[in-house]
Symmetry: C2
């Protein structure tokens, strides 16, 4: 079935805000098996809105709109729906009850204006908004001539209507992203599953990888694995993390999971340690989980990502137990001063010298420096693990040929170092360095 | 004049990528005085594209499209333009020369496929793409019947055409955001200024504020100041920074600046130190600039933003000279260990105790702690300035009533402390803490 995502509001078309709703809704709709064919955005203008609704209803099976449901004069979604499909506006008691209940829960009197938010086109159903004053609107319209459907008498009558080529369903949600997410999880996803798949369940799973590029990872998989349709498998990259999204549709949740399982097994089998987690996992959450399981701690000396490694660890809820802190000197001079203050200078210099000597070069390479910094980080933070990023090469990421830097993780049993070229897309470079560092600790933890 | 922004590509409508191009282009178009009335996005489907171009050309004066200009089979923008407006595709020699020149500059042979990228609808003009293989396409079409304009014989003929209600201009750019920015600055903005304003110049200025909310700041300004139209003044908030955008249109740049100047003066006069910078300034760039002017350095101890204060300072190009580094202990225990290692514990405890005693409470408050940390940061980093965030209250940002934390900046002349409630929107909380910290240093620097 085809879908269109419609964004409503002057702030969207004028560029005052970035329209993340259309992006998020498209992802969710595709997961539910809809093919999103159009995005459209219009301002708070009645004529434009009416035309946008009529055009959308004429060319897809489902329209999901966001915005324009507030109580003020520039909120025109309700009026536009009524005008587009020739329906009178009337108080929807279900919607009014929801609005009143929300104000009652907040122990506030309901301003008379908010009653406007319950004026729905006749035949529309209310979509519960758990934490906002604007209930959503669900309306089925006939397609070709765009004449209204008879009033089916409430939300229960709805589930009996099969989706067909003659009808278009329109769902209008508020513009606030957080409310859209809540409403989606509360009831919209379920309603749409029924609409699209006659009661079929849909289950999704994400498998997340780090350490290789999208095409390199795809090449490790069986021919046709990505973009298979049952289960559906998609792959995309987000700031150097590679994410597989696997979705299955079946009568029961168990059958969905049974369809997903072989694809997940294939990913783990073929990609091995490139897979670092599932669903909401990030590298830092995985690292903190591994540390918590082992009742261990980590401290950081970061001369490369400007402190981003520590910031990611600090952001994990409950990380405090495992994460001791981060020290991010901005210059070689500042690093030397810190080491001196701590009485660590001799240790650091000695380690660098001995490691440098083991290599073939005269001056210590980034690997020797990173290793010594990781060992120093254990002392500095009094932690089980020391994690470090060596200073970045002075030439910058676009130097040719790229010069290396290194990341290292040390515990009492030794140190694991990874040398990397300082090169890459400027927008992702710091994120990539911080992820390489966290991933080095993850792999070291897995092997202890 | 009215404009529509059209995004082309399956990756946009399916939600695989977030469409930042439409957002960026809308902002630029509004700055040039266009009113953006619609956004639309379609996939790589010829029929959908043809319809989207025809519809857009029928309802606005300018269409700016992005995507679909590559050399592969799913790049259909050229074919769609030709089909939508009944124009034959033919090699545009200007475009072909640009493509050949790019490959020559890269010392690579041009693959035969890339010649496709010079197949333009008859009458179209090439838009230079300084660093990409896909030249943009500029095409003027007649509106009502959508019949093609006569071939005007090249780009020079263009500037003579006045914009009118009978014509729509279509500009097609590649999908790569960086190339769009380069092409915009290279020639598109200039072409559109001519198109929209018969040679009027447009000048923009941004004034950036921190330290108060959007409505609070607006209330400090004269009635009607925001949303005035000559010059145009807009206000918006971006992660707790408040940004005024002032745009003027006039025959010369001097006249534009003359129109803008009084509005800028009003902002500085009414908002005082709430204004921290202009245009591309961020708090960290301003702080680094002030430090550089004074040949001073700063070091950080950050128990509140997880290291974000230091990360922002480290991200400023050329900051290395003024920024010494950041130490971000995640726990009180780790902070104590660090202080002990450095032989700073006595100093820290003493300072906290003396400051705590000066206050009315028994245990030292966050202000005493922040002040002591800022003084300790100077020693730790051997820097002129010490900047610190006290540990956050254990209750979390949604506690009622909110408990305070504090930020402080110290130099040899003393310490400036600011106590703040630990409360606010979770999405911006860390950013807000880091900005409060940088702003405290900014204000302290201004007073030395």
């Amino acid at each position: 079935m085809l879908a269109e995502v419609l964004s409503i509001g002057n702030e969207v078309i004028s560029g005052r805000i970035l329209d993340t709703n259309a992006h998020w809704l498209s992802q969710r709709l595709e997961e539910l098996g809809y093919r999103v064919r159009f995005h459209a955005a219009v301002g708070d203008d009645l004529d434009d809105l009416v035309e946008a609704f009529r055009r959308a209803a004429g060319r897809v099976d489902l329209v999901v709109a966001s915005g324009g449901l507030g109580p003020t004069e520039d909120d025109l979604t309700r009026d536009a729906l009524a005008a587009a499909f020739g329906l009178p506006l009337e108080i929807n008691t279900e919607a009014l009850d929801q609005i009143r209940a929300l104000f009652a829960r907040r122990q506030r009197a309901m301003p008379p204006r908010n009653e406007l938010q319950a004026r729905f086109p006749r035949g529309a159903r209310a979509v519960r908004n758990p934490n906002g004053t604007a209930p959503g609107i669900e309306l089925d319209v006939l397609r070709p001539g765009l004449s209204p459907l008879p009033n089916e008498g409430g939300s229960d009558a709805l589930s009996g209507l099969p989706a067909d080529r003659e009808r278009c369903r329109i769902i209008c949600l508020p513009g606030v992203p957080a409310e859209i997410v809540e409403m989606w999880n509360d009831s919209v996803a379920r309603r749409l599953m029924e609409h699209n798949a006659s009661g079929l369940r849909i289950v999704h799973k994400q498998i997340k990888c780090f350490g290789a590029g999208e095409s390199q990872i795809e090449a490790m998989l069986p021919e046709g694995f990505v973009r298979q349709t049952d289960p559906r498998v998609g792959i995309n990259a987000s700031a150097t993390t590679i994410i597989f999204r696997i979705s299955a549709q079946a009568p029961t949740e168990e059958e969905c999971r049974a369809k997903i399982a072989p694809a997940v097994e294939t990913l783990y089998a073929r990609l091995g340690e490139l897979v670092f987690g599932e669903d909401d996992d990030e590298l830092e959450t995985v690292v903190c989980r591994l540390l918590a399981e082992r009742r261990q701690t980590v401290g950081v000396i970061d001369c490369g990502s400007g402190g981003l490694v520590g910031e990611r660890l600090a952001a994990v809820a409950g990380a405090a137990g495992g994460f001791r802190g981060s020290c991010a000197p901005a210059t070689a001079d500042a690093l030397a001063h810190i080491a001196e203050c701590f009485g660590l200078a001799a240790n650091l210099t000695g380690t660098i010298a001995s490691r440098g000597a083991a290599g073939s070069s005269d001056s210590p390479g980034p690997s020797a420096v990173a290793a010594a910094l990781a060992e120093t980080a254990r002392l500095l933070w009094n932690s089980d693990w020391g994690l470090a990023v060596s200073p970045l090469p002075p030439e910058g990421p676009s130097a040719s040929p790229p010069r290396p830097f290194a990341v290292a993780a040390a515990d009492e049993n030794g140190v694991k170092v990874k040398e990397l070229p300082y090169a890459g897309h400027p927008a992702w470079l710091r994120a990539w360095i911080s992820k390489q560092t966290l991933n080095t600790l993850r792999l070291a933890l897995l092997r202890r």
